[in-house]
Symmetry: C2
Subunit: 734 residues, 2 copies
């Protein structure tokens, strides 16, 4: 996440243009208006939050899909073709502009050049089509619009000047006619409790670790009620009055029957309480998961770190669902700040770009913009940053090309809410979140928000350039430059050698917090000298309010890693994440304060079991270990170029893989040897060595101060013999 120069890659542009012109080659799939299925699905998914059996939806605006969509594509056929048409919704079909009678399920398209239009209405779920012939298939090369604006005058003539905006259709994994998008469900696998404790009218089941899915009751018989109390802890499951989630059901089964709970839940423990003469033979669960392939990996000489990595992976997997959600017990919502970290973790584990795009589309929703994303100012900015990183890691411009107008209206909403100094300050309805931290001031114009806006404006400039909006690009670059200058003019305090937290009533406050300072490090907004001062004045200074959430630990540790403090960060990681493991955590938590004891750890929001014990932002070691220990990161979009800069951080050896669009880069590093297997793209290996390093297949250059670099060719294995510096540089705590 360093301030890399991202420029439009001509090769990628060319490929994109070519793809637009090629005939459809892919297999048929269900398609829709891009972004619409994502909105529809996220509404449904976020509705699955319940609290004590009560529906608990979001408090911001839900948008809707467009209920009426026109799909079309031109085809050139060498022979006539039978084409099957499936649609979700009522529909019509036009061949070369002429409507066919009724709603045909199969049509014959003659040889030659033809256009097929399908127009679909569906209010309940997303208008979608699946078209399948020998060469004519529905895929993302189809064009879609929600307003075709093609009128017919009294003579039967159609409008001759079209202003219709066409986008490429959206898709996911619905690749057969009967895999209906509206019936979208993640896969499930059966799991069983590892221990069952029966009492008179209750049964406590322990599934061994944090899990997620649908409880299934087997051999249910009789008349009566069943209550299921779900617990991420045993204490929660046993607390009928305070368990956060539950199911209460009435049954009247003369014959034995099975029953699956309607809503998936997060739990390790389930306490089943029965009344009446009801009997249940046994209980199992259907574990629900996204089924993504783990591409990234990490192993090292420290078993505790390996365990941290594994539990991070498990935590992240549980929270990677239809979208990247915050936590599986609650909120099960798509929060932009949480999702942003998930994007980054994803680039080092699944590299599943569609989940990133889906999440960004769900978060953005539709115009008009009536509030910040999730109502939170910083979360709006993370949305822009997510796009920056998406392009950097994947090189995919299609998201930007299709959704630039949504980016623009979102940014204009922000710009329209600046104060008289041009700074973002909370207006009524704006939640300034930053972090959960006691007494953290949200008043006035907070430096952290300006910094995020500045980075967002840089992103907008980049995207405007990509879509060829020169005027926009100039404007956004200019705004970013002005704001960046203001950031230092207005917030930098020479005495404190740091950015201060805020300006209130136009005056700098004396308060220094970590937030803006650590972001300014890995955004490269600071000079090297400022970085060094800030490292000591803020990051390693205990008198500055400490960060207690894994959410902001993510960035704090990233900033330290970016400053070469891998040894220090590793120790912190073992303390913090290792601390949770020592308390028996099977997944990482929403928040962890080592000063608390026992059931205090489960409380939050004023409720005894309010805390989520499986929160995506708890999985940040995935990202840190991949990016700052294996040391792999792109330096131009889509890993066309990248660096590998392994750091042991005091470990004897590390090894693992980092996924890229072109395959997985494998890295091994010990104190004496570095091994890298590359993929397409040009890599740069960077490392320090006491002695002159040796590589048989590559050419190593010395860069001074024990630094060495080697350019690596695509799809090649390198072995470097070197000698690591005994004492790695690390910060001393004041």
């Amino acid at each position: 996440m360093k301030n890399m120069l991202i420029k439009t890659c001509p090769l990628i542009l060319l490929l994109f243009t070519l793809c637009q012109q090629l005939p459809a080659q892919s297999a048929a799939t269900w398609i829709w208006y891009p972004g619409d299925f994502e909105i529809w699905l996220s509404n449904n998914m976020q509705n699955r939050r319940t609290e004590r059996g009560t529906f608990f939806p979001v408090f911001w605006k839900y948008d809707s899909h467009y209920p009426l969509i026109d799909f079309h594509r031109n085809f050139i056929l060498s022979a006539p073709e039978e084409v099957k048409i499936y649609a979700e919704g009522i529909y019509n079909v036009k061949l070369d502009g002429k409507p066919l009678e009724g709603a045909p399920k199969q049509i014959t398209v003659p040889a030659g050049q033809h256009r097929i239009n399908v127009k679909v209405f569906n209010q309940a779920s997303v208008p979608a089509i699946y078209v399948s012939g020998k060469t004519i298939v529905s895929d993302t090369s189809w064009l879609v619009t929600f307003e075709d604006k093609e009128w017919i005058d009294e003579t039967g003539k159609t409008s001759d000047v079209s202003a219709t905006k066409w986008l490429n259709a959206g898709r996911w994994y619905f690749n057969t006619p009967d895999a209906l998008p509206s019936a979208c469900k993640l896969p499930v696998t059966v799991q069983h409790a590892i221990s069952v404790t029966k009492n008179s009218n209750s049964t406590l089941m322990d599934f061994g670790r944090e899990t997620f899915g649908f409880i299934r009751l087997h051999g249910l018989q009789g008349t009566g009620n069943i209550a299921l109390y779900y617990g991420e802890s045993k204490e929660e499951a046993l607390s009928e009055k305070a368990a956060e989630t539950l199911d209460r059901l009435s049954f009247h089964h003369q014959q034995k029957a099975d029953s699956i709970m309607p809503l998936s839940k997060a739990f390790r423990y389930v306490n089943m309480v029965t009344s009446g003469d009801i009997k249940v033979d046994s209980v199992s669960m259907l574990y629900e998961h996204a089924g993504l392939k783990e591409r990234g990996s990490f192993r090292c000489s420290d078993e505790e770190v390996n365990r941290i990595y594994d539990v991070s992976k498990y935590t992240f997997g549980l929270n990677t669902r239809e979208f990247f959600i915050d936590g599986i017990k609650r909120d099960r919502w798509v929060w932009s700040g949480d999702a942003y970290q998930s994007y980054l973790m994803n680039y080092y584990l699944y590299f599943d770009s569609p989940t990133v795009a889906r999440t960004m589309l769900a978060l953005r929703g539709k115009d008009p913009v009536t509030s910040h994303i999730n109502t939170i100012m910083d979360y709006t900015f993370y949305w822009f940053l997510g796009i920056y990183d998406y392009y950097l890691y994947t090189g995919d411009q299609s998201f930007i090309r299709q959704f630039y107008p949504r980016m623009q209206t979102m940014m204009e909403y922000c710009l329209g809410r600046r104060n008289k100094d041009g700074l973002m300050e909370g207006l009524p309805g704006d939640w300034i979140f930053i972090d959960w931290a006691d007494g953290l001031s949200k008043t006035g114009a907070v430096s952290f928000e300006q910094l995020l806006l500045c980075r967002s404006l840089e992103t907008m400039g980049l995207c405007a350039d990509i879509v060829g909006e020169k005027g926009d690009a100039d404007r956004y670059h200019q705004y970013a430059a002005v704001l960046k200058k203001q950031l230092f003019d207005l917030y930098w305090n020479d005495q404190q050698q740091a950015l201060v937290h805020s300006r209130v009533n136009g005056k700098q406050t004396a308060n220094v917090t970590r937030y803006a300072n650590m972001f300014a490090i890995f955004y490269d907004y600071f000079t090297q000298q400022q970085k060094e001062s800030v490292k000591h004045a803020v990051l390693l200074n205990d008198s500055i309010q400490r960060i207690t959430t894994p959410y902001m630990r993510f960035y704090e540790l990233e900033a330290l890693c970016a400053m070469g403090e891998q040894s220090y960060v590793l120790k912190e990681m073992k303390d913090y994440w290792g601390g949770m493991l020592k308390l028996g955590a099977t997944s990482f938590w929403e928040e962890y304060n080592p000063a608390k004891h026992g059931v205090e750890h489960f409380a939050m929001y004023g409720r005894p079991f309010g805390k989520s014990l499986c929160h995506a932002w708890g999985a940040s070691p995935l990202y840190l270990l991949g990016k700052y220990y294996l040391g792999v990161k792109p330096t131009s979009p889509g890993y066309a170029t990248y660096t590998v800069q392994p750091a042991l951080g005091g470990l004897k050896w590390i090894e693992g893989k980092v996924p890229t669009p072109q395959g997985d880069i494998a890295v091994y590093c010990s104190t004496e040897e570095i091994k890298v297997t590359t993929v397409d793209g040009t890599g740069l290996l960077r490392f320090r060595s006491k002695t002159k390093p040796v590589c048989k297949t590559g050419s190593i250059s010395a860069k001074g101060d024990n630094w060495y670099e080697m350019t690596m060719q695509p799809a090649t294995s390198y072995v470097v013999a070197y000698q690591s510096l005994k004492e790695e540089q690390h910060g001393k705590r004041k």
Copy 2:
């Protein structure tokens, strides 16, 4: 529609404010976010257009209801109360901010002051609730929002600064728990054919006149296909290849059964063609209608005019459905230009304000504005004019208060599309409709569009004043003033004594059409002298392209009536509408050209039966006879003041009623006597008399040139003896 000064009536404002504060007194009804049900229902209704059995939806954007709505209201109870809660959608209930477990169907509200919140999600249909207790009932005093923006921080504290915008809930006629809004259907009554002609495998049924509804097949038995060909003419029903609407069904009934067609259709004739061994005992239809009460009436000494009035009424009734639609065969869509005329007719027949409001909401849809209403520039402006008239006729400010933001964004869309001279000129995607007329130029900046924009800006100024947006009001008034000046500076041609049709490339064209000129008459934009010149130079000048559509005849005849040409207009009315009746019309047509013959009358859009024979805009005599013959019109909002200025137009006598918010004004006028029975509000009777008129209960003032005026008190009957002028003033054709 004269340029009356509409000002905010303090009494109405006071009543409005009082109503907001009174406890709920009304009976329980289903409520929703205002405008949302209207959008949902109009989508569904407009989907009912089919052509040759093919789904034929609109070509503009369908909007959606908000799928997630929070409803709340505060109550003060003297005793605890049991309250039943029904919802369309999944929901939760909060009492005083605390969620109740599950989705309770009944709650107990203790005595004292309490707040009830119900939050409902529904994607398929509109989130709606029905709440019913002794005093706690759901009605339009409940407040609703689509984003409550009430977050909870880590301590459990909720946001303390709310920026939530609350509107009053919307409702219609769903007044029992089981009258679900999502199941909305208009009432039906059974009707039978007046003649049935059977052939070998076909049966032709004649229902006697144009009608609308669902065909029901009785005693259906056997296996085979049935095709129903609907015809507004016999020729259409008998044309299996060209009938515009049809049903094709396959049956396999061993036992006799009835079958009702899924979609209502417009027809007078139905041709049923069977194949296979299928038998049908008989056929009936379910006539579907809005069931509105006819309050206005008109009778006169000319039976042809009476017949024109009756067929107008029937035509209008058929097209007054969930919304005011254009025509019942096709398009069955809500078109703003058509609807605007229906609003005006409605004020003289049903005075059903909710249908006007519903139609305006359906037309407007939601932000963002991506095109003109129905894609037509003039239709956007008619939407504003509809609001002007709605307020003038009903005095209801609630529509303006609730939907001012939608008016504003619509107007800003228009203002953002002006050319460098500040004039509206068609951009790609803008349909300049004006009228169906051979060779009518739509190029450049058309005077008619500027005139409509000017009136729309005046409306915006008025509405901004009502909602207290002083800055907006000033801006809109200023824009209107500038544009009005431009209209004369840029379009008035002294030589032609008229506004020219357009400016192309910044230069006035020589072309004069009727459109802008006739609107400028009844908007009082012309001086009296200009009106007289225009009357002769344009309205009564045969060398100016004639109007052939009832749509624009509406305004042409209104302009002539506004100039006192009732005798001339009556003759035109008898020629034009009488002409359709002489051809056997049982409802009035989309278009009528006396020069055509036989089946030529049925053709349009290049299709032999493309023309609609029952089009709302064909019913304009309803409006003309009420407003310009009975002569009743409001002069301040909601008929607080009004004029009655009867005009015989050459008839011996006329009589009828005109509905107002306070009741019906009854008028009788012969050549010797005028009788008026008034309602609440202050009326002004205006008439001309050769002799000094006499009224026992009122005080008549002479105004010169044989004009007399008498102020009329509320709820009083007046009889005036007078002597009408023998030769009424009327224009001579050149």
